[in-house]
């Protein structure tokens, strides 16, 4: 069970204000069409990814409730899934979540030094967010990039064969571009 963050308290007033963008609602309807009639629950994981991207990178109880309504499910069915998977944030996070792999192959190639270096540079520890809300530093398990270790993921982007210089550059670029990075971002596909 990967997600140990606990769920925040539900606010009925906030719930009334939530609505996803039209393009997001459209993609959700398309996703639901993939599955046989009555099996729209299958859309849960992809829809939660869209929901997270629509909601400043995290899933509040109000957003989860809204997802339940869209999919015609009980809220608890959505809560229990959101709390199982590690990519769903149940608490606010920085615009750029730097997820550094700590598993064996990366560890043999200096993953711990990467965490230490970023931590010093941003003045935060793993699990923390910078005071300007720009960066969250997270340690994660193997991301399937062991041959290009050490590595980190931020949104859709994989940053591999990390050196101090590369880390400096990517942090500078993220600061300059100053936008939220989501797993669902498209731009990385074609640059890669």
């Amino acid at each position: 069970m990967s997600n140990e963050q606990g769920v925040k308290k539900f606010d009925p007033e906030k719930r009334k204000t939530i609505r996803f963008s039209e393009p997001a609602l459209e993609s959700i309807q398309k996703i639901i069409q993939r599955y046989p009639a009555g099996k729209q629950k299958s859309a849960m994981l992809p829809v939660l990814h869209i929901a997270q991207a629509e909601s400043d990178g995290w899933l509040s109880p109000e957003v989860l409730d809204y997802v339940a309504e869209i999919l015609g499910l009980l809220p608890v069915e959505v809560y229990e899934v959101a709390s199982f998977y590690s990519m769903y944030n149940l608490k606010p996070v920085g615009k750029c979540v730097l997820e550094v792999c700590q598993t064996s192959s990366c560890w043999t190639r200096g993953a711990e030094d990467v965490v230490e270096y970023i931590g010093k540079k941003l003045n935060i520890k793993a699990g923390e967010t910078t005071s300007d809300g720009m960066f969250t530093l997270k340690t994660v398990e193997c991301l399937g990039s062991c041959g290009t270790a050490p590595m980190l993921q931020c949104g859709a982007e994989y940053h591999e064969n990390l050196t101090e210089e590369r880390i400096d550059n990517l942090i500078e670029r993220y600061r300059k571009e100053d936008r939220r990075r989501n797993y669902t971002d498209l731009d990385f596909v074609n640059s890669n």
Partner: protein, 453 residues
């Protein structure tokens, strides 16, 4: 040079795109299967090929396909397992990212053989950008008539979708994957019933790894016998190996099964030897779940034969002196790496990834991690070592899914071969408080003295 079947066209510029892929012989297996073969004939070729599941368990693919139940009027599904979360494994990502059409082609040919009209590729959520590459390839395949209704005028219909996960190693276990695809928590199901009888939406389902599905393409193109002619014994064909750790050339290599481990590890065509001129200390040859081998059992078996990259040779000696081919995640450790710290690293992974359904796994992985961390930090005692062995034994074979075993085996194997290093962590507690102690004073494995009969 080794023959390549999956990565043969890897060097061709633009091979990710449909036009280049097609111009290089792509989709020939779909043409051949749909125009000239029956579904049973395709399955027959896969049987003849001797192909074994490339996801880790090595189950014969043709046999798995022939177990698929075919009740009248009930849909059947093919689900591709692209969850690839076993530490040390990154071959599926490489293949999907670089030659996405090979997987799409394999999915069409395999779905035809199984009589599935809807198929899914379940990919781990972290590979989101790869899912986009696959979706692009699928859209191209639809546009060119390889997917959809009445493909090539054969009367066969197929829809293919990509489903992203959301971060959970356990969803690589096939029944957890199906739960996840149904929009639930990834809790493995109790078997039987097996997916071949009750899988996705309780309909008959085949779950296969990315590389397994891709291998169906050359098998159908060239025939099962040609595939079976490559390799040794029951290890037929080629295998993608993900090589990582302290080697000169980490990366994904397609090898012919039967290649000597020594050649794979030291020749410049593959890993290129240990990085920075260091000595080899240990190797985990098949992903984090398989037993670690000390240096003296990597290139040779206990009986002195050359160790080969095959299912059989890598497991020669059983768990006493062997390991497993597993997913082909080949992780190499040099003399500076600490086996206790690495074992703790793996145990932290399994603790994090246990779904929590069965107590031996949920409690046992937590317990092992706690004790290993204590030992690694120089705060353990000698009894902790046997305590670990005991906990590992209690998990093994007592759980719903094999994650419990996968967590227990690496711990048991590390203690079996590196007990003196665990003892060192108790006896020289001051030294090991420095996490980089292995860089100052390497601890090499000690080969046991031969037993004289």
């Amino acid at each position: 040079m080794s023959r390549k079947l999956l990565l043969a066209k890897d060097h061709v510029p633009g091979i990710r795109s449909y036009d280049v892929y097609r111009a290089n012989g792509g989709y020939a297996s779909v043409e051949k299967a749909l125009k000239t073969m029956s579904p049973e004939a395709v399955t027959e070729e896969v049987k003849k090929s001797g192909l074994r599941g490339r996801g880790g368990a090595g189950f014969p693919t043709g046999m798995k396909w022939s177990f698929l139940a075919k009740p009248e009027g009930v849909p059947r599904y093919l689900v591709c397992n692209a969850d690839e979360s076993e530490p040390g494994t990154f071959k599926d990502r490489y293949l999907m990212e670089r030659i996405p059409h090979l997987l799409v082609e394999g999915m069409i040919t395999s779905s035809f053989a199984l009589g599935a009209n809807t198929s899914f590729i379940y990919i781990r959520g972290e590979y989101f950008y790869v899912s986009r590459i696959l979706e692009q390839a699928i859209a191209e395949a639809y546009a060119n008539g390889w997917l959809g209704k009445n493909i090539l005028g054969s009367g066969y219909d197929l829809d293919l979708y990509v489903q992203v996960g959301a971060g959970a190693y356990i969803c690589g276990e096939e029944t957890a994957l199906l739960e996840s695809l149904e929009g639930k928590r990834g809790n493995p199901r109790i078997k039987p019933p097996f997916p071949a009888v009750e899988g996705l939406y309780r309909c008959p389902t085949v779950v296969n790894n990315v590389e397994t599905i891709a291998a169906v393409v050359p098998i159908v193109n060239d025939g099962g016998e040609a595939y079976a002619a490559i390799g040794i014994g029951r290890s037929t064909g080629t295998k993608l190996i993900s090589a990582s750790g302290n080697i000169n050339k980490p990366g994904v290599y397609e090898i012919e099964l039967g290649l000597p481990v020594e050649e794979f590890l030291f020749s410049d065509e593959y890993c290129g030897g240990i990085a920075n001129g260091k000595r080899l200390k240990a190797c985990v040859p098949g992903g984090s779940s398989v037993p670690i081998l000390p240096e003296y059992l990597v290139c040779k078996t206990a009986t002195g034969d050359d160790r080969l990259m095959t299912y059989e040779s890598l497991s020669d000696g059983g768990f006493a002196t062997g390991s497993m081919l597993g997913s082909g995640g080949f992780i190499v450790y040099d003399e500076n790496q600490c086996v206790v710290r690495n074992t703790w690293n793996f145990s932290r992974f399994y603790r994090h990834e246990s779904c929590g359904q069965c107590s031996p796994c949920r409690e046992g992985t937590g317990w092992m991690e706690t004790v290993l961390r204590r030992l690694e930090k120089g705060m353990g005692n000698l009894d902790d070592i046997d305590l670990l062995v005991g906990v590992a034994k209690k998990i093994e074979g007592n759980t719903i899914c094999p994650l419990g075993d996968a967590a227990a085996w690496p711990v048991a194997a590390a203690i079996r071969h590196f007990r003196h290093e665990f003892e060192y962590h108790v006896l020289h507690a001051e030294k090991v408080k420095d996490p980089k102690h292995g860089h100052k004073e390497p601890i090499m494995p000690v080969k046991p003295a031969p037993v004289v009969a």
